[in-house]
């Protein structure tokens, strides 16, 4: 698995983002790379809760606090620090951050999963004719105002997406219900994704870099529709 040692790996988890920083590289070069990676997809990361994993690296308080500030400037919240170094854990404690002490064996798990990976992580298991598929999130209830769902894969909602709720996904967004909130599909730049809903009436819809708002409601027909990008703009068609 360690074919190339990445300095920075960013992974979406249930609790938010897990950012693993290489324990060996130069700290300044790591934070620079982190900042660049985050800025590439700032819309996607903004608002995320972050767990930082620094492995065995002893991180002094001033470095940790500048890392925290770096995240906060991008609208992200550092909520947990994982490390096996006592120094790092002490720094985190003095900054009132939650900590999680780890041992070496977990470090192997902190690589980014590739979005369209064809191979399962457990390479020794033969893959038969089953589709490998892409990771996604299934939400089995109505998303009410104030709720946000982040995913680096697809999002499926079995329920409505109410005004004031937000879905940000790197992949497709499929809503088995009414869409009246905000959806950003292809948030990492992929404009080949689709958004579909049984009743498509989002207050704003984004696919990759494209944005549309719903036309004001006059005699809108309620029917399943799908939105996608064609000729550099978002179009909505009947979902058949």
């Amino acid at each position: 698995m360690n074919n190339q040692q990445e300095q920075v790996s960013i992974k979406g988890t249930k609790e938010g983002l897990l950012i693993a920083l290489s324990p060996s590289e130069e700290w300044l070069s790591i934070t620079k790379e982190l900042a660049e990676k985050l800025d590439e997809q700032s819309a996607f990361f903004s608002g995320a809760k972050v767990t930082i994993d620094v492995g065995a690296r002893p991180v002094p308080k001033y470095e940790l606090s500048s890392l925290k500030a770096l995240l906060e400037r991008r609208g992200m919240l550092l909520s947990l620090v994982r490390s096996e170094s006592e120094t790092t854990l002490a720094s985190a404690n003095s900054l009132d951050l939650r900590t999680f002490a780890i041992d070496n064996s977990h470090l192997e798990d902190t690589k980014i999963p590739q979005r369209d990976r064809d191979n399962d992580d457990r390479g020794d298991k033969p893959i038969d004719s089953e589709e490998a598929g892409t990771q996604g999130v299934m939400v089995k209830r109505t998303l009410r105002s104030g709720r946000t769902v982040h995913s680096r894969g697809h999002v499926v909602v079995f329920g409505d997406v109410n005004p004031g709720a937000k879905i940000i996904a790197a992949g497709d967004v499929i809503i088995w219900g009414k869409l009246r909130g905000m959806v950003h599909a292809g948030a990492e730049g992929d404009d080949s994704v689709i958004v579909c809903a049984l009743d498509m009436n989002p207050n704003q819809l984004r696919i990759a870099d494209h944005i549309v708002t719903s036309p004001s409601e006059h005699q809108r027909q309620v029917m399943p529709e799908v939105a996608f990008v064609r000729d550099n703009q978002i179009v909505v068609e009947a979902w058949t």
């Binding site: 209830r141 109505t142 998303l143 009410r144 105002s145 104030g146 709720r147 409505d160 109410n162 005004p163 004031g164 009246r180």
Partner: protein
């Protein structure tokens, strides 16, 4: 057994939480229920004013929590309705003066003595809201037929879901049937379409409400008030009676005859 604990909340301010709390409580007490109202809006207490009990306050809920008096001493008995009591909020402190655990504690002590504990929640989604809903068995969400109030109600329902509370019942307050008819105001259907909650009452806009609140005599005592009747109906529904939602197109005189018909 013990009391049913019902919290009245809304998210948005000014939609009529306190008016609802006062009127439902008075209406329940007139139906021979033992009711205590608990004002959780610390720092901005109003429930005592609209129920005409302001000048009777000696101790408040913060005094109870901080041990300056016992619970019985903070209970104010309503003279006109002997089965109705109030525990007032403090006016000088803020929401952090009490915690959700304090609320659970107070409610647990009140439960054996009453049939209903009605908690008036402050606006917002912060500490005051969490204090108010912590002990609730049931939640009543008050909203107005306007988009911002419905949006905030939706947020509140989401927060209650996250705490695994029962989904709650909806009161639509200050509805103007003629505006709904002209399509200028959200209808009850528009609102339930988004919130997906059962409606326990629709209270029409009514010019009797504000003078009633100002004089400390809740509007539900006014036999000419449609809003007052709506609150009576909500109290009946809380007791499990099957009272149909009233037809807001009709004249008030007709309602009174209808109510008399039902009540004999």
């Amino acid at each position: 057994m013990g009391a049913r604990v019902i919290t009245v909340t809304s998210g948005k301010g000014g939609v009529g939480k306190t008016t609802t709390t006062a009127n439902i409580s008075v209406a329940l007490s007139r139906l021979d229920q033992r009711v205590v109202m608990l004002d959780a809006d610390i720092g901005l207490r109003n429930l005592d004013v609209v129920t005409g009990l302001e000048n009777r306050i000696v101790y408040d809920i913060v005094d109870v929590v901080e041990g300056r008096c016992n619970l019985k001493q903070a209970l104010i008995k309503h003279k006109q309705f002997p089965s109705l009591y109030l525990i007032p909020a403090a006016q000088t402190r803020d929401k952090t003066a009490i915690s959700p655990a304090d609320m659970l504690d107070i409610v647990a002590k009140l439960k054996p003595e009453f049939d209903f504990i009605i908690i008036d929640s402050p606006a917002g989604i912060e500490r005051g809201f969490r204090n108010a809903v912590a002990p609730a068995d049931e939640v009543i969400i008050v909203t107005n037929p306007e988009v911002s109030a419905v949006r905030d109600a939706d947020r509140i329902i989401g927060l209650l879901e996250a705490e695994n509370k029962e989904p709650g019942k909806l009161i639509i307050n200050r509805l103007k049937p003629d505006m709904v008819k002209k399509g200028e105001m959200l209808s009850a259907d528009d609102i339930t379409d988004i919130l997906a909650l059962d409606i326990i009452g629709i209270v029409p806009e009514d010019e009797f409400v504000i003078p009633a609140s100002n004089s400390g005599v809740p509007v539900t005592l006014n036999e000419d008030s449609k809003a007052g009747l709506a609150f009576q109906n909500i109290a009946r529904r809380l007791l499990g009676q099957n009272v149909p939602l009233m037809d807001l197109e009709q004249q008030p005189g007709f309602f009174r005859r209808l109510v008399k018909l039902f009540n004999g």
